[in-house]
Each structure stands twice: as C-alpha cells, then as structure tokens.
C-alpha cells in the first residue's frame, strides 16, 4: 500500500479532467447567477421600500449564516416535496448562485455607496435623467471598485464546488472519489485534485490581487 503509482495516475487523469469540466461548468453558471441575483438583491435593498429592504436584509443574513452544504441538501430534498424536480447539477448551480448572491449583493452595495454623494448631486445639477445618471456617472465609477471583490468570490466558489458531490454531481473531487474507490487507492486521486485546484486558483488569486492594487486604496 502507499507509494506513488504513475501508471494509475495516467489511468485516472481523463476521468479527473472530465470532472474538472463539470467543476468549471458549475462555477461559471453559478457565478453568472450570483452576479445577476446579487445585483437584484442590492437594488431591492436600495429601492426605499422599508418592508422589502428589511426582508432582503434578513434573507441575506440568513443565507450567509448557514452552511452552503445544508442549503444544497435543502434544494435537493425539499423542492421535490413541492413537485419541483431538479437535476443534481441544476440544484447545485442554484445553491451556489443564491449563496454567493448574498455576498455579491453586499459588494455591489459597498461599490455604489463608495461613489461620493457629490457625484449624484452633480448629475442632478446637470439634470441628467435617472438612467443616464446610472449608466454614465455611477456605474462607470462603481464597477471597477467591485471587480476585485467579485473575482475573489468566483475563486471561492470554484473551491466550494466540490460540495456538489454531496448531492450526486460528479465534479473534479467526485471523479477523484470514484476513481479512488474503484481501486482503493486514494493518494493519487486526492493529491491530483488538490494540485489541480492549486494550479488553477493560485494564479487567479494573484491576478485579482494585482487588480486590487491597481484599483486600490
């Protein structure tokens, strides 16, 4: 037992890479959902309807204070009781997207509030219509501020996609688990899975940090 077997490595590599594709797919779709839904949540909180913004705040705090794994199980086990049957991957993407939307919503909020009040007042003084105030004045200043934070959440989500294996998605780690269980060799599959994560997420993290410094302060 033990030891490193290169033959086994080359045998399981195609399986792992197929799993990695699923990981990418989940991260990509989850991020798109998190970016869009997060914006909706942030705008709902700003809309100035006390009941709505209070409810959205409660929802965000609740989701952020409870485990993503339990939320994934929730989608997978509870929704069928109400006649909604989702595939594992769909449930997983929705889980990731909603969970991270509650983080991106705060990012957008901070980004919008980071634009100085005087910018709003200047836009009013120039009597710019509301939508142009947003598209020409506020967003061009807010978006660069929020990009590094959003990037960090994409990287976090990438590293959390293995949770989807709990509801039956064969992602990178799910594939490693199956490859390992088949041969009762766990050293190679899990070490390779770890290295693949490091190889992909570390350069991304360095890029985001550089972006952070440029947008900075």
């Amino acid at each position: 037992m033990g030891g490193w077997d290169w033959g086994f490595v080359s045998q399981i590599m195609p399986t792992l890479l197929r799993g990695l594709l699923v990981t990418f797919e989940a991260t990509l779709l989850g991020s798109v959902l998190a970016f869009a839904l997060g914006l909706v949540l942030a705008l709902l909180r700003r809309a100035g309807i006390p009941v709505v913004s209070r409810l959205v705040w409660l929802f965000i705090e609740f989701v952020r204070s409870t485990p993503l794994l339990v939320q994934l199980y929730f989608l997978f086990f509870v929704l069928p009781d109400f006649g909604i049957r989702l595939s594992s991957l769909t449930a997983g993407v929705i889980g990731l997207g909603v969970h991270y939307a509650c983080y991106t919503a705060e990012v957008y909020r901070a980004g919008i509030e980071g634009v100085p009040r005087a910018q709003w007042e200047a836009a009013t003084a120039l009597s710019l219509p509301r939508h142009r105030t947003w598209t020409r004045v506020i967003l061009p200043q807010a978006v660069p501020r929020v990009l590094p934070a959003l990037g960090n959440y994409v990287i976090s989500m990438f590293k959390e996609t293995p949770l989807l294996l709990a509801i039956g998605v064969i992602d990178l780690v799910g594939a490693a688990k199956e490859a390992g269980a088949g041969a009762y060799r766990y050293v190679e599959p899990y070490t390779l899975a770890g290295l693949l994560f490091l190889l992909l997420s570390y350069p991304a993290a360095v890029l985001v940090r550089r972006l952070e410094r440029r947008v900075g302060h």
């Binding site: 204070s65 409870t66 339990v70 199980y73 929730f74 509870v78 590293k159 780690v173 770890g194 993290a205």
Partner: protein, 234 residues
C-alpha cells in the same frame, strides 16, 4: 407539517455537541496557526517568511473538501494509521482557516502606525516587548471583526464533517431523519438552518464582548458596534 417537530429537534440536537466540539476545536487551532503563521510572515528571516507563505497559499489555494478527503482517506495510506473522523475534521478546519487568519494577523500588525514602533524603540523596549506590549494590543482590536467572520465560516464548514461520518447536526438531519421521514424535509431543514443561525449568533455575541475587552486593553473607547451590544446587555 409540524407533527414531528419535537422528535426532529431532539434528533438534530443530538448532533449539536459534535458541531460545537468541531467548531470550538477548529477555532482554537485557527487562532494558534493564525498568530504563528501571521507573525512568521512578518519575520526578518527570508526562510521563515517563505515557509509561512507556502503554508498560507497552499491551504488557501486548494479546496476544503479536498483537504478533508486527503487527510481522512489518503494520509492513512501513506503513514499507516487513521485519525478519528472528528480529529481529522478539527485538523482540517484549523489548518484551512488558520491560513486565512494568518493574513488577518499580518494585515492588522501592518496597520499599526509606524510611529508606534518608533515610540517603543525610543522607550528602549526590546523586540519581544515591543510586539507584546505595544503592537499586538493595538493590532488585536483590528483583528476581532474579521476573525468574527472567519469563525462563522468555520462553523459553516463544520457541516463538511458529515461527509466523513461525523454525526454532527448536518449528518443527523441528512442520514438519520431525511430518509425516514419523506415529505417532511422542509421542517427538518428549517430546524437545521435555524440551529446554525443560532450558533453563528452566539459566535458574534462572544466576539463583540471580546472586541470591547480588546478595546479597553488597548486604551481605546469601545467602537459604536461593541457599545450597542454592551448596552443591550448581551
């Protein structure tokens, strides 16, 4: 819908001690590793800095699930003995969050104004005294809020231990209750989520008290946030 509420609650609560033990153990290890690695990253020795960096980037760069499976399934095949699931879980929770905590410690120490270092030197304090008596008490106040978030992340991550057969709250719900009470998953999961919410509120309340204490030690007025908690008596 709430027919079996009491049964569900008691079954889930049976998992609570393990969730609390895993989270508590993980937090202790996290604090230890955060300070060791965080201060090591500020060391004058290039090698110490390098080793601390490797630990921090390595554990932040890989997925927590992989780390858990690696420690629990792969390491025993390499070293010949297996950790008890709970201990393997605490180890991974601590190592993973310690890597994030190290950045908090490093950042907070760096944020202490240079003049404080210079003042301590002018008072003829030695390097150890400078760190212990002047720098850390001030840095500590800055660390508390980010550590609060980190500990809540750790609490949430403790649910991963259900994947390596630790019978904590999530495991009790998904392995014991859900298969036996089909159609009542909503109740089971709502109780489960509320239990986690309560535990994370407990962490926040404790950390606010710590923040007040830290501010007093550093000779600063309590922040508005900590004062409100104090006035509410919680």
């Amino acid at each position: 819908m709430f027919d079996n509420f009491e049964l569900f609650l008691t079954t889930l609560l049976r998992g609570a001690p393990l969730t609390v033990a895993a989270t508590g153990g993980g937090i202790v290890l996290t604090i230890l590793l955060s300070f060791v690695a965080g201060l090591a990253m500020l060391s004058r020795s290039r090698w110490v800095r390098f080793l601390a960096r490797v630990y921090v980037e390595g554990w932040r760069g890989t997925s927590e699930v992989v780390q858990l499976f690696w420690i629990y399934f792969a390491v025993p095949l390499l070293v010949g003995f297996q950790l008890v699931p709970l201990w393997a879980g605490i180890l991974v929770l601590g190592l993973n969050h310690g890597a994030y905590g190290a950045e908090i410690v490093r950042g907070a120490v760096n944020a202490v104004p240079r003049a404080q270092h210079e003042g301590a030197i002018a008072l003829n304090l030695g390097p150890a005294q400078r760190i212990r008596k002047v720098i850390l008490p001030q840095a500590f106040v800055e660390m508390v809020p980010p550590f609060n978030n980190l500990f809540i992340q750790l609490l949430k991550s403790s649910s991963l231990l259900s994947l390596i057969t630790v019978t904590e709250i999530t495991n009790q719900g998904v392995q014991v209750l859900v298969p036996n009470y089909t159609g009542q998953a909503l109740t089971i999961f709502l109780i489960m989520l509320v239990l986690y919410l309560i535990l994370s509120l407990v962490i926040t309340v404790v950390m606010r008290l710590v923040e007040r204490w830290a501010a007093r030690v550093a000779g600063r007025p309590a922040t508005a946030r900590a004062r409100v908690t104090g006035e509410l008596g919680i």
